[in-house]
Point group: C2
Chain length 203, copies 2
Amino acid sequence: MDVEGAEPGMVRPGGRTARVRESVLRAAGDALVEQGFDRLDLADVARRAEVGKTTVYRRWSSTTGLVADLLTDMAEQSVPRTDTGSLDEDLRANARLVVRTLTDPRQGALFAAVIAAATCDPRTAEALHRFYAVRIAEWSGCVDAAVERGELPAGTDAGEVIRAVSAPLYYRLLASGDPLDEAAADRAAEAAAAAARAGVYVS
Amino acid sequence: MDVEGAEPGMVRPGGRTARVRESVLRAAGDALVEQGFDRLDLADVARRAEVGKTTVYRRWSSTTGLVADLLTDMAEQSVPRTDTGSLDEDLRANARLVVRTLTDPRQGALFAAVIAAATCDPRTAEALHRFYAVRIAEWSGCVDAAVERGELPAGTDAGEVIRAVSAPLYYRLLASGDPLDEAAADRAAEAAAAAARAGVYVS
DNA sequence: ATGTTAATGGGTCTGAAGTTCCGTTAAGAT
DNA sequence: ATCTTAACGGAACTTCAGACCCATTAACAT
């Protein structure tokens, strides 16, 4: 059976191929955290993963391609959301989770690197957008529940509220450099809740 | 007179040195817009600037160093803010300006590239933070004026309000990939105003 | 169990990024 | 106007990311 035009790893995805992918993605994450996106070198990733350099170049071809695949993998690992029964508490829990993630030495560096990679390549950007779409959909439930309970006006766009919680935190991480602490998290959650109650996110 | 330890360009900053810097920074901006941060090559910048490759390597040494200097230059070019006498209108004007900037083919690509560079190098990050500090300080005036007029509670942190306007727009540009249009701008401005009125940004 | 061939991996090669050397030009001090 | 030397620029050199070749290994169909 010949399978022209298929990407390598698609015809026989099991066994060794899967182990290689797992090992390479872990190594890529390590390299991104330790060196940053601009110093990411596929040969170095291959060494860390104890995998042939040729394999990495053949299957991922570029650093951005590798990061895109890493993002696809990250999107599949879902983190369960809280459901306390109060909008303010749920949003605060979400904001604090984001801050914990972004200030974690490994996770924070990884997110920064991955976002940098996405600005350099459309396919990586698409993978990043899918990642956030998954996360936002996961947390939208607590906003919809708040609408049900009458805490928020009907027609409130749940995704917009969740994005509004994260946005100031990412802005601090990437642009302004202001401290990312619990106070910032709580303020981001409060601001999103206040705007939502004012009906700003009614579509 | 010998000046050990000084960076090149510091002892004789006038004439040719200044022309070289100007020409290189413009070329660097062009290259970033056309190729993105990951493909930024100092030799290519030198060619565009019609300047010796050695000069670029000697004065800026790395791509992140060059971007850091570019940011310092960008921070000096101030854009005057509006002052309509109404908080909502001022914030909306600010939000629309940010959206226009980020969706402009040249400016948008430049900002994305510069933010990517900042995630890869602490000194570039510092230059980026200074850039935003300047911009935020510039626009803080309209929030302070709103506090004076009694539109907002006393003690409102003006910088936080301005950051709150920009944050969702940058989040769209860098993370979620949602459309950056005038509706998004107006919503960002409204949300920031609503949160500010609710006293979320009182420090 | 066996065969087919997808996928891996070591080795080699090449073009370009980045460094060094040294002669030339011009900024700024006198 | 003249001098000192900071800063520039061309060219040669080094290094290494990334492409290519081909032998080896092991997924999956039978």
